[in-house]
């Protein structure tokens, strides 16, 4: 466990309340230059162990990859009239942290060869782990964008980014290194949705904003008095660490 696990410092709290700056202005190098979040010995409460969005320093993604992930998150779930987007809720942080778990090395999948082509109904048959999917997938998309539009994905206008993502999803934009549509649907989009709706302790769904948007009460998990009624549920969400929204 890292030193700041299970602790919230005052600095962290302040930063979290101020972390509303648009991520379009985000420069990865600046995040890396920030000092680590100090542990606050006064705080004993088990609290969300995620640093504020703006303070987060990626452990897996390189600066170029981090730019891609932030840009892709901003298009997949944009901030709009329905509520904050994936970037504001910390989804890039969620994905970066997930890429440090055993899942990211394919540890819960059967990964022995031979790896052979099969009809789609037989599921994932690639030897690429999630880590490799992200590494190769981002590189391939940035290279495609550079080749066609002279800029990496993160440098494109939002409409161009949407167009690239749509083509990848449909399978009309491919790469030799990996099946891009699988990277998009099976990893990138899937993990973005997880990070948007996860418990905040994983680094996404900051302040339970995604739960509030859809009316999900989180982990309240006690509905005996309400189950028989087709009516609005009156209480806001609760997180695993007991935050209330």
């Amino acid at each position: 466990m890292s030193s700041n696990d299970g602790r919230t410092s005052r600095r962290d709290f302040l930063a979290s309340t101020m972390a509303l700056a648009p991520m379009a202005a985000f420069v990865p190098g600046q995040a890396a230059a920030q000092s680590p979040v100090a542990e606050d010995p006064q705080s004993s409460a088990p609290a969300p162990n995620h640093p504020a969005v703006g303070d987060y320093r990626p452990q897996f993604f390189t600066p170029a990859e981090w730019t891609f992930i932030n840009a892709a998150c901003a298009r997949l779930i944009p901030a709009d009239e329905h509520g904050p987007g994936a970037v504001e809720l910390g989804v890039p942080q969620y994905i970066d942290r997930q890429l440090g778990t055993p899942w990211a090395d394919g540890a819960i999948w059967y990964m022995q060869g031979p790896f052979v082509e099969a009809a789609p109904e037989f599921g994932y048959q690639s030897q690429l782990t999630p880590k490799q999917q992200y590494r190769l997938g981002i590189k391939a998309i940035d290279a495609l964008c550079q080749e066609r539009l002279n800029k990496p994905f993160g440098g494109l206008a939002p409409a161009q980014q949407d167009d690239v993502l749509k083509q990848i999803e449909k399978g009309s934009l491919g790469a030799p290194e990996l099946h891009l549509a699988t990277f998009f649907s099976g990893f990138l989009l899937k993990n973005v949705l997880e990070g948007f709706f996860c418990d905040p302790m994983y680094g996404g769904n900051r302040d339970m904003a995604a739960w509030k948007m859809i009316g999900y009460p989180g982990v309240r998990a006690d509905y005996r008095e309400w189950i028989g009624e087709a009516k609005p549920y009156p209480y806001g969400p609760v997180s695993i660490y007991g935050e209330r929204g």
């Binding site: 298009r75 329905h82 037989f122 006690d222 309400w226 189950i227």
Partner: protein, 591 residues
């Protein structure tokens, strides 16, 4: 070189529902019982304590309670001329692992079986004629009757504290229950659970359409309950974390909530976890099991001698152990001879999402795995198949199992998958959508079978089990029939739009989306050793001190959730071992 364990009377392979049932029944008979479980130990506290377990990422997205496929999985193909590939990620079915097995992350739907399903070949022949059975469909009777099993269904329901309403007690029809129900000896141990919004709408709509809705039996306790062993259950609070999750409330029946607290106090019972059984050992005649060989937590091979061996793992591991131990003759689809691997079946699940007006609150985040209303107007042979020309049927239900956003928010067809349009759609639909489903039988076919894969091996170097399975014409025509009913019921429930997945002719088995963990067959029970692996007491025809439990003993895939039948069959086998086998060990059925 394998080290040797201390000999025991009974070694049980796998410690989920059937292992726990057999362990307590045989320990109570005074035998020395050892259970070997390949996974970890687990208990309600600390494993499923609130709030740790109500976590969609660890439990649903990362398969917290499921078998780690990195260690062992199966290979899959549609037909015997194809090359099978590994089931690399969890998709269509979800095998469990650890103490409690799939009895932890199941939903709790607790059905029985219809009498005619246990003698399906005879029944179809009597009612429709032998020619009604299509070529290649290997229907057979199960060798056991409903009346023989009834006390054991009753026993398992009372162990689980199952909530429900009888429709037929000893031939007397009762209002409020399932009018198609086979005679029960008595009422359910607990009254039905409160109906959630989906189920209220389903019951009203199906009644108006002339069908016969009834509360689905659920092993989710509707009230506080003490079972015959003295284990206590608390009332379900519809927390919405049921399938995929361990129960936070001691409400969902599991080995942990209903059997283990009592079993663990018995001095003649022992449990070893992290013990992965590689094979059943036999003597030089091949007709007597001498015990099992397993790999312990440190990777050492241990030979465990035992007077009796019980295979009580999940379906997949039971069948593979029979094949890799060389017990019984493997099935050959070309000649139709051999039995181990024969009649491998699944279920067909059609799932339809209903989207309602925003003034109607379904609140899909509330619910319990087993709660719901169902109809059996089209189950088994409750309806005339003559004009329809297919065999089989299923349950149609309006359940509300509890769902959260990481598990996936169903959206009307044509909705965007991301972007602002997607956000608007999830916001508009999350609280206002529900789901109805039909769960259908899957007949046995000559070309659907299990054997050992020639290429892929597990982490222990043992060949993986290979599944050869695809949907067949008879079953897909049945599915289309149910698709029409689902659409009719969905409209009658007032849905403004309906979308979902209905299997139809031309569809192949897609192993990616979750469908059902109800895989079955492969070591069928029966009356004829030429077509079955086990006799009616679940005793191996070939090795009489070996008993095999689980849904792998089914002779075809029934439409009901199998756990009720799997549990009842375990009690049936245990009762006959106690009353007959122990007095005079040896074959219990002579041919």
């Amino acid at each position: 070189m394998a080290s040797a364990g201390k000999p025991v009377d009974v070694v049980i392979v796998g410690f989920g529902w059937t292992g726990a049932i057999m362990a307590i029944e045989l320990a109570q008979a005074g035998l020395n019982v050892l259970a070997l479980e390949r996974g970890e130990d687990a208990a309600t506290v600390p494993n499923w304590a609130y709030p740790k377990v109500v976590d969609e990422i660890s439990q649903s997205a990362r398969n917290g309670l499921l078998q780690n496929l990195a260690k062992t999985t199966v290979t899959i193909r549609h037909a015997k001329n194809e090359r099978a590939v590994p089931y690399r990620q969890i998709g269509s079915f979800k095998p469990g692992t650890g103490v409690g097995g799939a009895g932890i992350h199941w939903s709790g739907v607790h059905s029985r079986v219809m009498p005619e399903e246990l003698r399906l070949r005879s029944h179809i022949t009597e009612r429709y004629g032998a020619r009604f059975i299509p070529a290649g469909m290997t229907l057979q009777d199960w060798g056991v009757s409903f009346n023989e099993l009834e006390p054991h269904f009753d026993r398992f329901e009372n162990v689980c504290g199952t909530s429900g309403k009888a429709g037929n007690i000893q031939g007397r029809k009762l209002e409020g229950g399932n009018p198609f129900e086979a005679p029960r000896s008595r009422e359910f141990p607990l009254p039905p659970l409160t109906d959630p919004p989906t189920s209220v709408l389903f019951a009203k709509a199906t009644r108006e359409l002339g069908y016969h809705p009834y509360p689905l039996p659920a092993a989710n306790a509707s009230q506080p309950y003490t079972n015959p062993y003295g284990c206590q259950l608390g009332p379900c609070n519809f927390c919405g974390f049921c399938s995929d999750y361990g129960c936070i409330n001691y409400s969902k029946a599991s080995p942990q909530t209903t059997i283990l607290p009592v079993l663990y106090r018995m001095p003649n019972f022992a449990l070893r976890t992290n013990a992965h059984v590689l094979k059943v050992n036999t003597d030089s005649t091949g007709k007597v099991a001498t015990g099992v060989t397993y790999v312990d937590a440190q990777g050492r091979e241990v030979e465990q001698p035992a007077t009796m061996v019980i295979l009580a793992a999940f379906h997949l591991h039971n069948v593979r152990l029979m094949l890799s131990s060389g017990i019984g003759k493997p099935y050959d689809p070309d000649t139709g001879t051999g039995t181990v691997g024969r009649n491998f079946c699944y279920q067909l699940l059609n799932s339809v999402n209903l989207f309602f007006d925003q003034s109607l609150y379904i609140n899909q985040f509330m619910g319990a795995g087993g709660v719901g209303q169902a109809i059996e107007d089209f189950y088994a042979d409750n309806f005339d198949h003559g004009p329809l020309g297919f065999i089989g049927g299923g349950v149609i239900w309006g359940r509300q199992t509890g769902n959260g956003p990481v598990r996936g928010i169903p959206l009307p067809s044509g909705s965007p998958t991301w972007g602002s349009g997607w956000k608007a759609a999830v916001k508009d639909n999350f609280l206002h959508s529900g789901r109805i489903e039909s769960q259908l039988s899957n007949m046995a076919y000559r070309g659907c079978f299990l054997d050992l894969d020639p290429t892929y091996r597990d982490a222990y170097g043992v060949p993986l089990l290979r599944m050869t399975l695809n949907w067949q014409d008879n079953d897909l025509r049945m599915s289309e029939f149910f698709g029409e009913r689902l659409s009719q019921i969905g409209k009658a429930m007032g849905a403004k739009s309906i979308s979902g997945r209905v299997l139809k002719r031309g569809d192949n088995w897609d192993t990616r989306p979750y469908q059902s963990t109800h895989i079955n067959g492969g070591t069928a029970m029966g009356a004829d050793p030429k077509t079955s692996v086990l006799n009616k007491y679940l005793q191996s025809w070939d090795v009489s001190n070996l008993f095999v439990l689980g849904a792998n003993v089914f002779a075809h895939g029934i439409g009901y959730n199998p756990t009720g039948l799997v549990g009842a069959l375990a009690y049936w086998a245990a009762a006959n071992i106690r009353s007959t086998y122990l007095k005079s060990p040896g074959p219990m059925v002579h041919i």
